[in-house]
Symmetry: C2
Subunit: 489 residues, 2 copies
């Protein structure tokens, strides 16, 4: 196996030396071709993903759309070209006491990137997901370790990417796919000297295992493990008074979306003790009771969900407000619990993510206690604040605290359903991710796979197009401190 | 000691909650005030730094200028404001099948930053050096662990910064200084839960020690250890023919600058066997012989230099071309060595940095062998290519390989003398640094201390100025994919 993986990494490095010099327009054609090839897989892809995940077919029509739109968004980004962050400081030969050299900087791709996809999004966060799309866009070859819970889906998508590689006449090892269930494969790939970075989406234990493997390397590399969070929600009084029914509907849908198997699932909801909070809690339980229960992704996740529930629901002071108790193999029943903030503060077990359709309402005695709970929460992908403008005005301090813990602050919405945009941040302080300085969703995810390179006094004819005087690509550049699309002649 | 350091970190975190909300204009006033306070220290600072480092007084007039100019450059950067990388995707409420939310992203400061300064630049890379300046500019409080080789200089500068803090009415613990020689202090500060990042400049062993301390933390944090390199130089034939004398003068000065105690010192020079390379080697030895020898920074560095020389100069196949053999306590004698590429390839000891006024010329049989040597070099802060346009045209492949190994590629210059600019990259793949994705010099160094934060559907009145519709700061923003300084109304 080691020989096989060595060969794969050597091939990837060889591909890197060629692929990193491919133009933005050519990479756009490639990323668009991947999207087309994935679409060409037709219903077979949707049916395979559904069969391997226990999730409904319709969900995969949506997820495929997201996956292909994401590929094309990265294609557009690199064809436009400004993403390389070109900066030029022109020479001042007669500066005293020393001449100022000409310095030009742009971002360049790191090298071969190893991607570990997630089981809960077999398309959008897996083989051709955001990690793969952003790495390929940056100019890095990708090695995907196929997720063992959807091997056939992964191979179908991998075949589509490889057809796009051939169609675009790129180096044949720009994308490679490794099958296998052994943890050892992930370890060897992560520790290989030619690996320049790792993208992972999944559990805290899996993400930290990869992170620790990387620590044993001689040369440090970036490891982006996106590991999920409890996505705490603050419910403020005015909003509860005004629209408890709407909120209950939205949050019931958010908690149960994808059988709760979203890393942005709202797992903790905070409010101050009041009749409106009680009313909202009852309405939320009612809404949950009207939704059907579904099967979870695989046995491991189902087992973790039920053991997580067992651990928490029998804890002292934890009240089960609603428990669907649906029958059937692998079915994940929605559960709503409630606890006082005093108990919550004393029981760290309640602070951890329970991956599945579960949420717990933490009832605080007053704003001070709510603030106390808010302050001790660990790193999160998202925090959500539900409140009228008046509520928010009165609680600016809570928004300021939210900035400490999350990558994204949602106002009057649900945290699930991450938009793939230019301003998206899907990431956050540990344990939400191993590196809160980057996002794994949205076009800014490309920044994970690059480093800056500076050319000092380089003759114009040798510079990459991005840095040439005439600015042939017409990209936005920072020239002598000013931003423009102009040439520097 | 632990209690003392705990208190320092708690104070720093408290300062963070206040300082991160300080405006760019106020931060500019603060950074300018630091520069003024440092200048107000007058000759006492220069004399103290000179006495503690064995470096001449004139050098510190220059280094002080660099330090203060660097502070002001960061002040200008944050007052202008575009550095926060604001991105706005406006809502599309009627998008099908789901409304598109309003998403706005900007960079926000990470938290308290611990800085370990370098002994070789008691001003520009130490207490008020690039790490401190960039962290303070980003909105992060700084805790400097004073370097034990220049404690009085460090305390003088620390006092200047603290006076600037008071003058600007900032939180009193925005900047703190910790004295002490114990390694334990660095370990405790690096591992403290409230530490959000570490900047280090110094040796490979010191930088990796800090890096490994950080790995033992529960929550990962970024550690930027800038550890130096051999800064290899390729000498191409046409240039050697045309200007051997000028090159010999420049490189003799570069090798001996600051008694060779620059992390960008050109420690390895490569060329193809030829009479012009021999001629250049003789000229370089001649130029070196005309330069005086000086005392090195401290005993540890001097001891490492002499033992490094002993290790290398008596190795099989290594010829000493010039050795000053100057007398005197702590004197670092300039040395020029020569070796065949065949021997060099077989002896990894020769690939490591020898910190001091030393350089070795590697004589290659032909271009293939030069390429072979070029390819096996580890990560570097810089690579330099000396050649006429014709030389460079013929050796584009070597420039492409240079991109693999360095943060900065210098053409027809010397690697020493790092410009503090907008396009500067001082950093590179391991072992030049622990994270080649960032620079420690120049305005882009601010990117090390921030993370992205996204506001989803946030009412305009609650948004930070950088993201408000009317763009009150007039910064460049990416709005719906287009770059402009306009409002989004």
């Amino acid at each position: 196996m080691i020989n096989h993986l060595n060969k794969i990494m050597e091939q990837a490095y060889d591909a890197y030396l060629s692929y990193r010099n491919v133009s933005g327009n050519s990479k756009k054609k490639f990323l668009y071709a991947i999207a087309e090839e994935i679409e060409s897989l037709g219903d077979e892809l949707l049916e395979t993903a559904s069969a391997e995940s226990n999730l409904p077919l319709a969900r995969f029509a949506g997820e495929r759309g997201r996956t292909c739109a994401q590929m094309r968004a990265f294609g557009d980004l690199v064809a436009e070209g400004t993403w390389v962050e070109a900066v030029i400081d022109k020479a001042i030969p007669d500066r005293m006491p020393m001449p100022k050299p000409d310095m030009r900087k742009m971002m360049v791709p790191l090298g071969p990137i190893v991607v570990f996809g997630a089981s809960n999004f077999p398309l959008a966060y897996s083989t051709a997901g955001g990690d793969t799309a952003s790495a390929l866009a940056s100019g890095c070859p990708v090695i995907v370790k196929g997720h063992p819970s959807h091997p056939r889906t992964s191979n179908l998508v991998s075949g589509a990417i490889q057809r796009a590689v051939a169609k675009c006449h790129l180096h044949p090892f720009v994308f490679q796919h490794v099958d296998g269930t052994s943890f050892e494969i992930g370890k060897i790939l992560t520790q290989h000297p030619m690996t320049a970075g790792v993208g992972f989406t999944g559990s805290l234990s899996g993400g930290m295992a990869i992170y620790h493997y990387a620590q044993q390397r001689e040369a440090p590399i970036p490891v982006f493990s996106e590991m999920g969070s409890t996505n705490p929600v603050i419910l403020l009084k005015g909003a509860l008074q005004l629209k408890a029914t709407d909120l209950a509907k939205s949050f019931a849908a958010s908690i149960t979306m994808g059988v709760g198997q979203f890393c942005t699932n709202p797992g903790i909801m905070l409010g101050v003790k009041s009749s409106v909070l009680n009313h909202f809690t009852s309405l939320l339980a009612l809404e949950l009771s009207m939704l059907p229960s579904h099967r979870m992704l695989h046995e491991g996740i189902h087992k973790n969900y039920t053991s997580g529930l067992d651990k928490v629901l029998f804890d002292k002071g934890v009240e089960t407000v609603y428990h669907a108790h649906a029958e059937g193999n692998l079915v994940g029943s929605p559960v709503l619990a409630r606890v006082s903030a005093t108990t919550f503060l004393q029981n760290p077990d309640l602070h951890h993510e329970i991956f599945g359709p579960f949420s717990i309402i933490v009832v605080c005695d007053n704003k001070n206690q709510l603030t106390e709970v808010w302050k001790i929460l660990k790193g999160q992908l998202t925090t959500t604040i539900i409140g009228t403008d008046h509520d928010l005005e009165l609680n600016k301090d809570l928004i300021d605290i939210a900035k400490n813990i999350a990558g994204r602050i949602v106002f009057n919405g649900v945290p699930t359903g991450v938009e793939v945009g230019n301003a998206t941040v899907h990431g956050g302080p540990y344990p939400a991710s191993t590196d809160g300085r980057f996002t794994s969703v949205g076009t800014e995810a490309i920044k994970r796979w690059v480093r800056p390179l500076c050319y000092q006094d380089c003759p114009d004819f040798l510079l990459p197009d991005e840095l040439k005087n005439i600015n042939p690509l017409g990209i936005f550049r920072k020239v002598n401190g000013e931003y423009s699309r102009q040439s520097t002649m």
